[in-house]
């Protein structure tokens, strides 16, 4: 012990074999009035804080603070990022949609509280601490195995080495030793220190390079790590390709493809207008019609819906036609380019049935299914489809070309059908509409002699039926009025 004499004595420690004897000794030391004491055990011993007089820790409050910080951070972050700085509208929810922010808020609350509990505990414990005078005692290694130690610090007010030793001896303490200063260096060994420094320095280098690249300009071409992501390996039209059997990169057209502006029809057929005449009197409109028949592609057409516009024009024309003022000057085609053979009429009947009858009715009277339904539900915005049997729609006032244009482009409330119905079929419908109109005005002389009797019979039956229907209706109306 001679060479230890000059060293500072930190305190005095004793070893115990069991929890019970340690607890007993703790109580004795506490009762003797020592405050700067501590017990060291391989596992948490319950009741020792009381036996030694240790006060409860403030850790839970620290953790509460951290947890609340986490909640607030998460909410502020989400609201700032998604509702204020860069407002996103997601599935029509309000900008500050709290329910959607709860999961992240919960996670950050837990994360921050856990950091608080973890780091707070180590900080309160004064750890990490790599040099501890107690560790100089070779027996102290067993504190993490199966031995229990009691320690009284020399700086305690009522410290008295002899008295402490006495308590230790009486309570069964063994190997009672003074704890001396640790004369081994607590500095980190040089090689480790240097290696550590090197690692830190090395880890900064890539970040610095990135930073430099970010803030400076360079005249060198960019470095491409993933070349094919920066430059797509797409082929040019005339290049070869191994992907296809014919070895060409460019694919042939799908059968039936028609190039823009390359349709086989003449423009009169596609527009219903005599284009030569139109170019003579209104060249810009003629040009527009040609362009429209090619589809709306030019920058000139981008802001308007061209088909609707053409419909509008036709509407204006017909308005002015019905009014006294300006006459419809458009040189409409006056005859159907398909003629009116039986095939054309049958085709027209078919397509009229498919596309027009829902609104205009099978007979063109204007009372199709859609109209009946709209009347029934009293739709306030409903405009009934016109009857096609008005005189103003007859061919002398409403040329075939114009009817064709109405079908193609629509008119006022009626939508255009150019997109659904091919031009031939539209012309066929025109022919059929004419036939329908004729059916209400034809004289019996147009019917072959052999069929006249049959027709007249039918006419009588129809008239009878119409009369009956009118009577029935009147009766129901009267009944309703009486009520």
């Amino acid at each position: 012990m001679s060479d230890n004499n000059e060293k500072k004595v930190h305190g005095i420690v004793a070893e115990y074999e069991s929890v019970d004897s340690l607890l007993n000794a703790c109580r004795r030391v506490r009762d003797a009035g020592y405050k700067k004491t501590d017990a060291y055990t391989p596992f948490p011993v319950h009741g020792i804080d009381k036996a030694l007089g240790i006060k409860p820790t403030v850790l839970p409050w620290i953790v509460l603070g951290c947890g609340l910080t986490g909640t607030v951070t998460a909410l502020v972050m989400q609201i700032w990022m998604n509702s204020i700085d860069y407002p996103y509208i997601i599935s029509g929810k309000p900008y500050i949609s709290l329910p959607a922010f709860i999961p992240v808020a919960f996670e950050l609350t837990v994360l921050f509280s856990s950091f608080g509990a973890f780091f707070g505990m180590w900080a309160l414990n004064g750890l990490p601490r790599f040099s501890n005078p107690l560790f100089t005692d070779p027996r102290f290694d067993r504190v993490t195995d199966d031995r229990f130690f009691l320690y009284v610090d020399a700086s305690d007010e009522s410290y008295d080495e002899k008295a402490v030793r006495e308590i230790y001896e009486q309570t069964g303490g063994e190997h009672i030793n003074s704890v001396l200063d640790d004369d081994s260096s607590d500095k980190i060994p040089k090689p480790i220190f240097m290696a550590w420094g090197l690692v830190i320095a090395a880890s900064v280098i890539p970040l610095l390079i990135v930073l430099k690249m970010r803030v400076t300009n360079s005249d060198q071409p960019r470095f491409h790590i993933f070349y094919d992501m920066d430059f797509s390996p797409a082929k040019d039209a005339q290049q070869g390709s191994t992907l296809f059997a014919d070895g060409r990169a460019m694919r042939p057209d799908v059968p039936g493809t028609v190039a823009r502006g390359d349709s086989n029809y003449d423009m009169n057929f596609m527009t219903g207008v005599d284009m030569d005449k139109l170019s003579a009197i209104d060249a810009p409109r003629a040009e527009r019609l040609v362009r429209l028949s090619n589809g709306p592609i030019g920058p000139q057409d981008q802001d308007s819906t061209p088909a609707a516009e053409e419909g509008e024009q036709a509407a204006n024309d017909s308005d002015s036609a019905s009014g006294e003022a300006a006459k419809d000057t458009t040189p409409w085609l006056t005859s159907n380019p398909l003629g009116n053979s039986k095939e054309v009429l049958l085709q027209g009947e078919k397509y009229f049935g498919i596309y027009c009858s829902v609104c205009h009715g099978m007979n063109g009277g204007g009372n199709g299914l859609v109209n009946r339904r709209a009347q029934k539900i009293l739709s306030p915005t409903w405009i009934p489809p016109s009857s096609l049997h008005q005189e103003s729609l007859y061919s002398d006032q409403y040329p075939d070309g114009k009817l064709f244009s109405t079908i193609s482009n629509g008119i006022r409330k009626m939508p255009g059908y150019a997109a659904q119905i091919k031009a031939e079929d539209r012309w066929a419908i025109v022919a059929y509409v004419r036939a329908l109109q004729l059916s209400r005005n034809a004289s019996i002389d147009l019917i072959p002699q052999s069929q006249r009797a049959e027709i007249l019979e039918m006419q009588e039956a129809v008239q009878q039926k119409l009369l009956e229907e009118a009577e029935a209706e009147q009766q129901t109306q009267e009944a309703a009025a009486q009520e």
Binding site: A39, M81, N125
Partner: protein, 468 residues
């Protein structure tokens, strides 16, 4: 100090009026230290070396595949329209699920004062962290441009000029899984510090002493430290418990919040959580039973521990079975045509084999644990646990693949076929997992010595108070 164990090594028999001992044999504190430390101190056994080499080789193969994927693009996977999630997400959910048992054992069983957790929690926590590491790999590479994965973080970007979208479950997922990984790591490490100090104090060579010295942060076993430590541990447990439940809930939101038939159901969160615990416990058992044999830890990880875990598997397995049934019922009861189709398609469509594998592994096999003989025979437990693991992988396969392969647009339907990269990555992820786990077995205290000792102290105390 000696303990009389009335039933020999079998402590799974209930003794009326007496708690069954959790540490067996004539054990002293020092014996516990010895038996745990010898695992790390003696030379590695041949089986460990072989196991490690195999796992490490698989890990390298995974690395190669990941590099190949990043260099070539995600087309190397079998992910094709409309099945864009494919195996990477199946594997992700599988591993996250496995990662649930550890924290559950540590936190929830701790809060419920289930002392039997003490000798298994350490390894289970380690398993959690390694499983989360495996899980994290998959979405990381599934984003396609893996080097831009940091875009998920809410940082002020100089070239995006925008923030992440916080109303998306995929982003919640990022926060949930990373919080879970971090908190589990803290929990695990904190629990290990006193035991690392034991390693430090037993180390014979200087290097070991220094390494464990740094890791144990100068732990001295002071009562003041223990008091704060226990407080912090209880607090962490209290946070980790709801956290565990939240993580798989949020993972299930990835599916449930979408519109895909078969995913868009409110039952997903509880059903996923039960499945996660189920698969996690199965994985713990699969690992623990061979480990306890090889490492000679039968006195600390006793039959009673295995028995208890089997009961949890039985309970969660039944919940999972009930959930499968409920899903079907609701698909019929809800009368949504697509939902009905989705479930019939699962069971009788082109993936029927996956569905019925899942049902037989997850619903039928755990029911065997009603029989006590099965719960207490280690090799039977291992076999059933492996079946459960297979079943749970297939569950995720069924959910991800069948729903995506046939959704609303029949013209886009397709059949998923994995590529060799898919297979390699699934197997490689096991390489990653086992490499980490085997290293852990060698380098870290596999059993929580401090806590086991305090269990022993209580046991000792009890048996003595009985005598009076």
């Amino acid at each position: 100090m000696s303990l009389a164990i009335p039933n020999g090594l079998d402590n799974s028999v209930e003794q009326p009026g007496q708690r069954a001992p959790l540490v067996l044999g004539d054990t002293t504190y020092h014996d516990i230290t010895e038996s745990v430390c010898q695992v790390a101190e003696r030379k590695p056994s041949t089986s460990w070396v072989i196991g490690f080499l195999v796992s490490f080789a698989l890990l390298q193969w995974l690395t190669v595949c990941i590099l190949y994927l990043i260099y070539t693009g995600v087309g190397v996977w079998g992910n094709r329209a409309p099945i864009f999630w494919g195996w990477p997400i199946v594997n992700f959910v599988f591993w996250v699920g496995i990662g649930h048992a550890g924290t559950l054992i540590s936190a929830i069983l701790f809060l419920f004062r289930q002392e039997w957790r003490t000798s298994i929690n350490r390894a289970a926590e380690a398993m959690t962290i390694f499983a989360v590491a495996c899980a994290g790999t998959f979405p990381g590479i599934h984003v396609g441009r893996a080097w831009l994965a940091y875009w998920l973080a809410p940082y002020p970007s100089l070239n995006l000029w925008m923030w992440p979208q916080f109303r998306s479950p995929l982003l919640w997922d990022v926060f949930a899984v990373s919080t879970y990984g971090t908190v589990s790591l803290l929990f695990w490490y904190m629990g290990m510090v006193p035991d690392l100090a034991t390693f430090r104090d037993r180390s014979k060579n200087k290097f070991r002493r220094m390494a464990y010295g740094i890791l144990s942060l100068g732990w001295s076993g002071s009562s003041r430290h223990w008091m704060r430590y226990e407080k912090a541990y209880a607090l962490l447990a209290a946070f980790a418990a709801p956290l565990v439940l939240s993580v798989h809930t949020i993972v299930s939101f990835d599916f449930a919040v979408s519109q895909v038939p078969g995913w868009h159901t409110t039952i997903f969160p509880p059903y996923f959580v039960a499945g996660a615990i189920f698969s996690g416990f199965a994985m713990v058992l699969t690992l623990m039973i061979p480990a306890r044999k090889m490492l000679g830890l039968e006195k600390l990880i006793t039959i009673r521990h295995l028995d208890n875990m089997c009961k949890i598997i039985l309970a969660t397995g039944s919940i999972v079975g009930l959930a499968y049934g409920t899903e079907f019922f609701i698909a019929w009861y809800g009368q949504v045509q697509e939902e009905k189709f989705a479930f019939l398609n699962r069971a009788f469509g082109p993936y029927w084999w996956a569905y019925w594998t899942m049902i037989s592994c997850n619903v039928i096999s755990p029911q065997l644990f009603w029989i006590k003989k099965f719960r207490t025979t280690p090799w039977i437990i291992v076999i059933i646990s492996i079946f459960v693991n297979i079943g749970m992988w297939f569950e995720r396969f069924v959910i991800v693949i069948t729903s995506l392969s046939r959704d609303y647009l029949p013209s886009a339907w397709a059949y998923f076929s994995p590529t060799w990269v898919d297979w390699s990555m699934l197997i490689g992820s096991f390489g990653l997992f086992f490499t980490l786990f085997l290293l852990f077995c060698r380098l870290m205290p596999v059993i929580n010595m401090a806590e086991t000792k305090s269990t022993l102290a209580k046991q000792y105390h009890m048996s003595h108070s009985d005598e009076h």
